[in-house]
């Protein structure tokens, strides 16, 4: 009756479950490794239209894989031809003539022509455009279709940046037929076509057989989104992922370096990581206090502790690999005694308390703890407030309602932000503004370099922020995977040259 069967049923279930477990564990093998690649990214893109969003994660998936522009940025940061095989500049510098590649088709089979270029650029610079980088197109007065393989771009004033600007992910060429649906079903001219997006998990792409250029070696690729460093580590070390080009758990790099299965690539980024200070808040108004804080922080210990040694100390808001870099790391050496002295001088011998708002990235959360510890030694009590990006944007960036925050400024050559009014540091210096104005009208390279160095010196001496380190790009991938970028001149995971070696 019930009794016997209940018991036997239970036992049967248990036995069945045990068998199933055995079957599952036994059958786990890594997928066919030679023609597909699974690649980890920390952030999932909100959508896939590179021309309609600022998120770097969009470019990380689609740039040069699905979408292409007239020009492209190479692994070393140089501007290279792409859909345009070449271009000429008129003598007055106001007209650029682009000669387009032949035989290009979109993934939906539509042939590519100069009309698409005009459509894309006009759409991007239209008044109702939702392009996140509209200033890229500011100088363009008109786009003219000369013939299906030739297009002219007319400028209002000469600019040396057009070819670079058009290489941005925000300037890729889209087809008028699919422009509206690119967010969820991107259709471009690149070597890979979009397959499927499992939200919160991964995006799959596969080789586009009708590609105009050299066929990529990978058949398929998937981008998996793993924001948690712990999960990222587990996925890499267990071999679930083949590559993690921008890897966020620096403490584990040593393990990967020691493991012959993996290759570790440490490259540079444009990210200056700073302890930003609200220059109009309480004690922080006082330059002496800001300088004291700059002295109080042990930057090398911070790089060691938070980034496990991955990062270059900087003394100002400028990338060290740039030729105009001014090495000011000696300006505020770690010196707690000096810091205390300066604080006393400023009238804060007893120290003070303040808050430190930390956005989610590892460098901020970990650096925050170390900085709080350093500042405690000179009498400054920091209350750590972790915030999500949304909150950081509204509270710190927009409302400047903060004392301290840690953030990495990843835009290249962005020292100009110190000249902006009401930028979130609330820094205001007429001297600096004059410098930047002068810079903007200067074309001579040496003079520019000189001005840039002065600008760096100026903000450093004012100790606007504490300049901590240049973020390193730490990539980890299977030792047999070749062709991934080592540096990050632009956020991209160009898979067209990626291949597997046999051993």
């Amino acid at each position: 009756m019930h009794a016997k069967s209940l018991k036997s049923r239970l036992l049967g279930f248990a036995g069945g479950a045990a068998l199933a477990v055995a079957a599952l564990t036994g059958a786990h093998t890594s997928a066919d490794a030679k023609s597909s690649l699974s690649l980890g990214m920390a952030l999932e893109p909100p959508h896939l239209d590179a021309t309609a969003g600022a998120a770097a994660a969009i470019d990380g998936v689609v740039y040069q894989n699905i979408f292409q522009g007239l020009t492209r940025i190479g692994p070393d940061g140089s501007v290279l031809p792409s859909l345009a095989k070449s271009w000429d500049v008129s003598d007055d510098g106001l007209t650029y003539r682009f000669h387009l590649q032949n035989g290009v088709v979109f993934h939906d089979g539509t042939p590519f022509s100069a009309d698409d270029v005009k459509f894309s650029l006009d759409r991007a610079r239209a008044d109702d455009s939702v392009n996140a980088q509209k200033p890229l197109f500011d100088g363009i007065s008109e786009v003219v279709v000369v013939d299906p393989q030739t297009v002219d771009i007319k400028l209002t004033s000469p600019s040396g940046n057009l070819a670079y600007n058009l290489a941005w992910g925000d300037a890729v060429i889209v087809s008028p037929k699919t422009a509206e649906t690119n967010k969820t079903k991107p259709v471009g001219t690149g070597p890979f076509k979009f397959d499927r997006w499992m939200k919160g998990q991964e995006i799959r792409i596969s080789r586009f057989d009708g590609y105009w250029g050299e066929q990529p070696q990978l058949d398929t690729a998937s981008f998996r989104f793993i924001s948690d460093p712990n999960a990222a580590f587990a996925a890499m070390i267990s071999g679930d992922l083949d590559a993690f080009p921008v890897y966020s758990a620096p403490e584990t790099i040593v393990q990967f370096e020691a493991d012959p299965r993996f290759e570790v690539a440490i490259g540079t980024t444009e990210g200056e990581t700073i302890l930003a200070m609200n220059n109009t808040r309480g004690p922080l108004k006082n330059k002496l206090v800001r300088q004291a804080i700059s002295h109080a922080i042990n930057k090398q210990a911070l790089i060691d502790g938070a980034m496990f040694g991955l990062g270059t100390p900087i003394g100002t808001h400028f990338a060290p690999h740039h030729p105009a870099y001014n090495d000011l790391t000696g300006l505020y050496p770690y010196d707690p005694a000096k810091a205390k002295e300066l604080l006393a001088q400023a009238g804060y011998a007893e120290g003070f308390s303040a808050t430190l708002k930390l956005p989610p990235p590892t460098y901020a959360r970990r650096g925050g703890e170390l900085i709080a510890s350093d500042l405690k030694k000179v009498g400054i009590d920091l209350k750590i407030v972790p915030v999500e990006w949304a909150q950081w944007l509204s509270e710190v960036f927009k409302e400047t309602n903060y004392d301290f925050t840690i953030v990495s400024h990843v835009e290249p050559m962005d020292i100009g932000i110190y000249a902006r009014d009401k930028y979130y540091f609330n820094y205001s210096s007429d001297q600096f503004k004059t410098l930047i104005d002068e810079l903007n009208v200067t074309v001579d390279e040496d003079k520019r370099t000189e001005l840039l160095k002065q600008a760096q010196q100026s903000i450093s001496e004012d100790a606007v922020n504490v300049y901590l380190f240049q973020l390193a790009k730490t990539g980890v991938w299977n030792a047999n995977v070749k062709g991934l970028w080592h540096n990050a001149p632009t956020p991209a995971n160009d898979l067209s040259q990626v291949y597997w070696t046999d051993n």
């Binding site: 460093p229 070390i237 040593v254 502790g305 959360r365 703890e369 510890s373 750590i384 407030v385």
Partner: protein, 294 residues
């Protein structure tokens, strides 16, 4: 043979000495009390003293192995793990005690009120209870802490809210179970008000239930705090929390497994301690209660 038949329950005794004697014979109680006391002492001590300060980081000392200098070694920032564990005990205990305290202080009167004033009020209290129960507790704690900001205080509130219906339910159930008892009728015949009867008779008689429930809730609250801190929504640095330690240790499992093991064991010990204490108390205070509650 015949092991399923009842052994007659011993008559309930209420004098302190006999309870104490029985307590010392109860394995659950003794082990639980020792563990809980151990965690408690560690936490209280950390308020005045820890081997090293936990908010001063010394990166040069990071990931030291166990030694006479650092009894349990140091973590990735060069903090002494023993000090961190002690401070973590403080966090766990403070969060758990206050959260359970909130639950009791609000839940018990609500439950008693519901039991005393049957009808509309009772219906309202119980429906509100159902509503809170309908929110998976940790999920809502995640919501609350994300909205009002991560931190110890918000974690306490989030966990505390979910203790309210538990205690309301236990208090109401206990009071209703008593409601037919003749000594309550006798008290009413003595002209005592409902409030006075509740204070003099009901509360002392459901105290056992509440104490046992409290020890169970304490262990649940410790787990919840660890979970929230693991997600980064609970206790924030520089204050230590076991859940956070566990999170931070996770990527280093391969080369520094001790970092994940210690906080894990700390959580297990303290939760085990309070659970066993609860079990022990239940057996001690009322051998028949297990049936009533279940």
């Amino acid at each position: 043979m015949n092991q399923e038949l009842p052994s007659y329950p011993p008559p309930a005794k209420y004098d302190a000495i006999s309870i104490w004697r029985k307590a010392l014979r109860s394995r659950s109680f003794v082990i639980g009390a020792v563990l809980a006391l151990f965690v408690l002492i560690a936490g209280v001590t950390s308020i005045f003293w820890t081997p090293y300060a936990i908010d001063v980081l010394d990166v040069s000392q990071r990931l030291q192995p166990m030694s006479s200098q650092y009894l349990f070694g140091t973590d990735q920032y060069g903090r002494d793990i023993l000090s961190m564990l002690m401070a973590g005990a403080r966090t766990s205990i403070i969060v758990a005690l206050i959260a359970v305290g909130i639950g009791m202080l609000i839940g018990v009167p609500l439950g008693l009120l519901a039991a005393a004033q049957r009808g509309l009020l009772e219906e309202m209290v119980m429906r509100t209870n159902d509503l809170i129960f309908a929110f998976p507790s940790l999920l809502s704690a995640v919501l609350i802490t994300s909205i009002f900001g991560p931190g110890t205080i918000n974690a306490v509130i989030a966990i505390g809210i979910f203790n309210i219906p538990v205690f309301a339910r236990v208090a109401r159930g206990g009071a209703l179970a008593l409601s037919g008892r003749e000594f309550l009728l006798a008290a009413r015949l003595s002209g005592k008000s409902t409030f006075l009867i509740t204070v003099e008779h009901v509360i002392p008689n459901i105290a056992n239930l509440l104490i046992v429930q409290a020890s169970i809730q304490l262990s649940l609250a410790i787990l919840a705090e660890a979970g929230l801190s693991y997600l980064g929504l609970g206790t924030q640095p520089p204050m230590a929390s076991w859940g956070r330690m566990l999170y931070e240790a996770q990527t280093m499992v391969a080369f520094a497994p001790q970092l994940a093991l210690y906080p894990g064991f700390a959580i297990i010990f303290s939760v085990l301690g309070f659970n066993l204490l609860g079990d022990g108390l239940r057996d001690l205070l009322d051998p028949k209660m297990r049936r009533r509650v279940a």
